[in-house]
């Protein structure tokens, strides 16, 4: 394993570079200010702090109408009758549309399987399914008109779990499936099944000195991005439509929208509006088609903005899961085998379920070396809310369970939980259960060492001379304890997440880069369709352009569908893939610029032909630092522009029976240490500190990297102790669709999050970087659970932990 390079402190000050006195080879961009590796500030920062940044819900257009969606009040029912006449007669209403008003034969959409009706047809399959849409001149008029639509339902029994889904007489959630998974699933109410078998787990179990089994439950988490689903559809003179939208992937939306509207893709123009967070929840369509339909029907711009209540119904959630694990180990602390079965509830529509199954299974045993494994993951069709992408994507649920198991085995063996993990930790060269070799650094043991080595926060602060500050105790300002009944616990966890789209997906991105002289200065313009959702991709694109083109000024063009697809802002992939595309297009632009330079100035200096040439500080220079020409003179009035696609290494699908295959592109590793204090009498938990160590390959922007790690860590904390969408098992109805009842961590719930960043380059990736956004969301949750177990001695096999699980009441 390569030795760790310098990290940087949690305040974000970078300390990366060669020691003083070492001769440094000058390479492209290594002396460019504001380039890769610096904590440059966001280009949209000023707009965002002044309130000027235009989010999708802020858009306005002359003559604009407001759209409203009528959603089902029951989870599973036949629609007996649907009467829109009263709604249509309401003054101020311009249109009411139902399934019968859809303009073409394409009436369904979906990321992978087109099973989701644009509007319900004869049946609803989950609580909150769109049934009809209304456009009116005031949002309240639209809401009231939608309420006047009369829908008569004949309710059907609800399918809510594996038992009800696979019962012999179970109603099929989707009749007549014809998707490409139906041939290999054991029941039509199972979306996809992925077994992964390697070695002989049964035989290996015979060598185990201890065998530990567990059943775990992972609750349904919501992305809870703050900017509600929203957008503005503007009809255009050529019969097309222009949609301004908050999404994670413009071109994926486009592919699904255009056929439903009966328009060619070039007549559906899409521009990214400001996105108020995403976390997977905007990977599927929400109001896109509805707004376009109403705009085309009325001939007027139509804006739709969900409120928070509707948002809980308007996007997919993280799959809740049941996980069954068996781990075996020898006395000397080596794992013999792992068997597991992961049952993910995909809800009423497929969304990203097949890919979530692929992740959960292939990463199902975590970052450990185990030769004999028997894994199965399935996703169900039920009448629960549809589930799909959320940060961590299948790897989160598995990590919660396998890390609980690792603690249990360590306890059985009488070993320190960190030591036990380190003995089994994967390293570069290890094989995954899929047979794929990990061919880049995998510093699992080192991350655990680092996170354990961080100083611990002081104990029993309430006994200090300042006395108890209730804000730092369980129960907080509710003033429920001044330290009495409070015990501390510490827990560790580590996880592995794949980066990029796996299983043979053609996961490319496109970047258009232009270089020209503007007002006497060389300026680069970067145009991609990447959805900036808050992650800071636009910051990084400007840094890459500066590094590769040696310019100070970079303009980030608004993202739209006038340029090729950038792929999704998900799977921790955008800095890798669209960053890679920007780098690649910049390199092509650089070559062209140098060609122009050779043509114009080649005869002036022999170095044009012989030296390695760099673009630096707005000039063409030799690697020895000699200036050959000013870019302003090289370019003169010429503009150089390149639009090119870029791909990472291809992957393969997993074998449907054995799960073998080189399915993943790259991995991301993070480890956490949680320190909690628990009021054992009231069952209240205060997370005191949540430290993280993560390998990021190369931090293109250290400030943003730390922000991603802290944000991901906090979402993991949320699902450890508070976040869960409660679905009534009798009715499959959602019981807490609001921020009053679905709690996400406040600043009082969130502890300090010290971060130790490791940078071990992945030589396959641009600049050696690793996708980083998701890994911290994996290990955060099991670390908090481990700490609570450590404090209380309780088993705790579900997340989130609620007070009653701690008090037994």
């Amino acid at each position: 394993m390569p030795s760790p390079t310098s990290g940087f402190d949690r305040a974000g000050g970078a300390s990366i570079g060669a020691p003083l006195g070492t001769p440094v080879k000058v390479t492209q961009g290594s002396r460019t200010k504001g380039g890769v590796g610096e904590s440059t500030l966001r280009p949209d920062g000023t707009l965002k702090v002044t309130g000027e940044f235009a989010y999708s819900s802020d858009l306005w257009h002359e003559d604009m109408l407001w759209g409203q969606i009528l959603r089902s009040t029951v989870a599973h029912a036949e629609i007996v009758s649907l009467d829109t006449s009263e709604a249509l007669a309401t003054p101020g209403v311009y249109a009411v549309m139902t399934y019968d008003d859809l303009p073409t034969d394409v009436k369904h959409y979906g990321l992978e399987i087109q099973d989701t009706p644009v509007l319900a047809h004869g049946k609803v399959r989950h609580h909150g399914e769109p049934v009809a849409i209304v456009a009116a001149d005031h949002p309240e008029t639209a809401r009231r008109a939608a309420a006047k639509i009369k829908v008569e339902y004949r309710e059907l029994p609800v399918i809510t779990d594996e038992a009800s889904a696979t019962a012999p007489d179970a109603i099929l959630v989707h009749e007549n499936r014809d998707d490409h998974h139906v041939g290999h699933v054991p029941h039509p109410n199972i979306v996809h099944r992925q077994p992964i078998v390697r070695g002989d787990a049964d035989a290996a179990a015979g060598r185990a000195d201890v065998v530990v089994r567990g059943e775990y439950t992972f609750g349904m988490q919501d992305q809870a991005f703050l900017g509600p689903e929203s957008g503005l559809a503007v009809p255009e003179e050529d019969g097309g439509v222009h949609l301004y939208i908050a999404t994670q992937w413009l071109h994926s939306d486009l592919r699904q929208i255009a056929p439903v509207l009966g328009l060619p893709e070039n007549k559906v123009r899409m521009t990214l509006a400001g996105v108020g967070g995403a976390f997977g929840g905007r990977e599927d369509l929400s109001m896109q088609i509805h707004a376009c339909l109403l705009a085309l029907r009325t001939g007027k711009p139509v804006k739709i903005v969900y409120n928070r209540f509707e948002s809980f119904f308007g996007h997919v959630h993280r799959h809740p899961a049941k996980l069954f694990y068996e781990h075996g180990a020898t006395r000397d602390g080596k794992l013999t085998h792992v068997k597991c079965r992961i049952v993910l509830d995909g809800g009423a529509y497929a969304s990203a379920s097949p890919a979530v199954v692929g992740n959960a299974s292939s990463l199902g045993i975590g970052p450990y070396v185990v030769d004999d494994v028997d894994i199965e993951a399935i996703a169900l069709y039920t009448n629960n809310p549809p589930c799909g992408a959320m940060r961590g994507f299948g790897a989160v649920q598995a990590c919660f369970a396998y890390e609980a198991q690792m603690d249990k085995v360590a306890k059985e063996l009488g070993l320190d939980p960190v030591e036990f993990r380190q003995r089994n930790a994967m390293e570069q060269g290890a094989l995954l259960p899929t047979g794929q070799r990990v061919d880049s650094p995998a510093p699992v043991a080192e991350l655990l060492r680092r996170v354990k080595a961080m100083p611990l926060p002081p104990e029993r602060q309430w006994e200090s001379s300042e006395g108890a500050d209730v804000r730092q105790l369980p129960g907080g300002l509710s003033n429920t304890t001044h330290g009495e009944g409070v015990v501390r616990g510490i827990g560790y966890a580590v996880g592995i997440k794949n980066v990029g789209f796996s299983e043979g997906f053609d996961d490319y991105s496109t970047a258009k880069v232009r270089m020209e002289v503007v007002a006497g200065e060389p300026v680069a313009t970067v145009h991609t369709a990447m959805a900036e959702v808050g992650q800071g991709g636009v910051t990084v694109h400007a840094q890459i352009a500066r590094t590769e083109l040696g310019v100070a000024q970079v303009t980030i063009h608004p993202a739209n569908t006038e340029v090729g697809s950038a792929g999704s802002t998900s799977a921790s992939r955008q800095t890798y893939v669209t960053g890679g595309a920007v780098k690649n297009s910049c390199e092509l632009v650089r070559e062209k610029v140098l060609e122009i330079g050779r043509r114009r100035f080649g005869s002036h200096h022999p170095a044009w032909a012989t030296a390695e040439l760099l673009l630096e500080g707005g000039k063409v220079v030799t690697d020895g630092g000699e200036v050959l020409a000013d870019l302003v003179d090289v370019l003169a009035d010429e503009a150089v522009e390149v639009e090119a696609q870029w791909r990472h290494r291809p992957t393969e699908p997993f074998d449907l029976r054995t799960g073998q295959g080189n399915g993943h592109v790259q991995y991301s590793f993070a480890a956490h240490r949680a320190v909690v204090e628990v009021d054992t009498e009231l069952g209240l938990v205060k997370v005191i500190e949540l430290a993280c160590a993560q390998d990021v390959g190369k931090a293109l922007n250290p400030l943003s990297v730390i922000g991603q790690i802290q944000g991901g860590t906090t979402q993991g904390l949320g699902v450890a102790v508070m976040e869960e969408i409660i679905v009534d098992p009798k009715t499959a109805k959602v019981r807490n669709p609001s921020f009053t009842d679905y709690l996400i961590p406040t600043i009082l719930d969130t502890p300090t999050i010290p971060v130790d960043v490791l940078e071990l380059a992945d030589d396959h990736a641009p600049y050696g970087l690793r996708g980083i956004g998701e890994a911290p969301t994996l290990s955060s949750t099991p670390a908090v659970l481990a700490a609570i177990r450590n404090a209380t001695g309780l088993e705790l096999d579900r997340t989130p932990v609620r007070p009653e699980h701690l008090t037994g009441t």
Binding site: R10, A11, S39, L41, R42, D44, G45, T46, K48, V49, T50, G51, E52, F53, A54, Y55, S57, D58, W60, H138, E140, Q223, A224, F225, L226, G227, P228, G274, V275, G276, G277, A278, F279, N307, R308, R471, L477, G534, Q535, G536, L703, S704, I706, G707, Q710, G711, G712, T713, T714, Q715, S738, F739, T740, I744, T746, I747, L748, T750, T752, I753
Partner: protein, 201 residues
């Protein structure tokens, strides 16, 4: 109904307002000030925080009719508001000598406050408020949807508590949800703004 009130120092008149409309709706949809955000419209997330006669409120929970004749500051006017406050503080410090703790904005002061120049309405052009600059510098902005409400709340806290402890900051901002940052960079930003404020005095 018609509602007359002052926004960022300017008299505003909103016509045809429904009785059920919130201050947030009137700001965003009738006055062209969408900086205050609509994330939960239930008073849980703080994204719509504005100052009403100097007091931070969730504008989604204020009925439009309640603001008749009153004074509202939104994120769009925050920079100018902070600038004039600093100017006023300087004058008062000069005339009164030492002044360690700012007493906050009195109702009369809040009402008397006027925006200057044509840029403040759109939030363009001028310098940023110290808290705005600190949010940018500390990396406290990711998606930015919570940012306007947090800025208004944090600015108001620093007005009252120029040297807050971490626990004070957390308590003061506990009504503002952020989903992206894990709050650490927000803490850094507020500490930074407080430190810069301290240096400036």
């Amino acid at each position: 109904m018609r509602v007359n009130f002052t926004v960022n120092g300017r008299p505003q008149e909103a016509d045809d307002v429904w009785e059920g409309e919130s201050l947030l709706y009137v700001l965003r949809e009738r006055l062209g000030l969408p900086g205050s955000k609509n994330a939960c419209e239930q008073g849980e997330c703080g994204s719509c925080t504005v100052r009403l006669d100097g007091v931070p409120v969730c504008s989604c929970l204020v009925a439009a009719g309640q603001v008749e004749g009153r004074d509202v500051v939104t994120v769009e006017g925050l920079a100018e508001f902070a600038r004039q406050r600093a100017e006023r503080d300087r004058c008062e410090t000069a005339s009164r000598g030492d002044r360690t703790a700012a007493p906050g904005t009195s109702l009369d002061e809040a009402r008397a406050w006027q925006a200057r120049g044509s840029d403040s309405q759109a939030g363009e052009g001028g310098e940023l408020a110290p808290i705005q600059q600190a949010f940018i510098d500390a990396g406290a902005v990711q998606c930015g949807f919570c940012t306007p409400g947090l800025l208004v709340a944090a600015d108001e806290m620093l007005e009252h508590h120029p040297n807050p402890t971490d626990a004070d900051i957390r308590e003061a901002l506990s009504g503002n949800l952020c989903r992206c940052t894990g709050y650490e960079k927000i803490m850094d930003a507020v500490r930074l703004a407080a430190a810069r404020q301290g240096e400036a005095v």
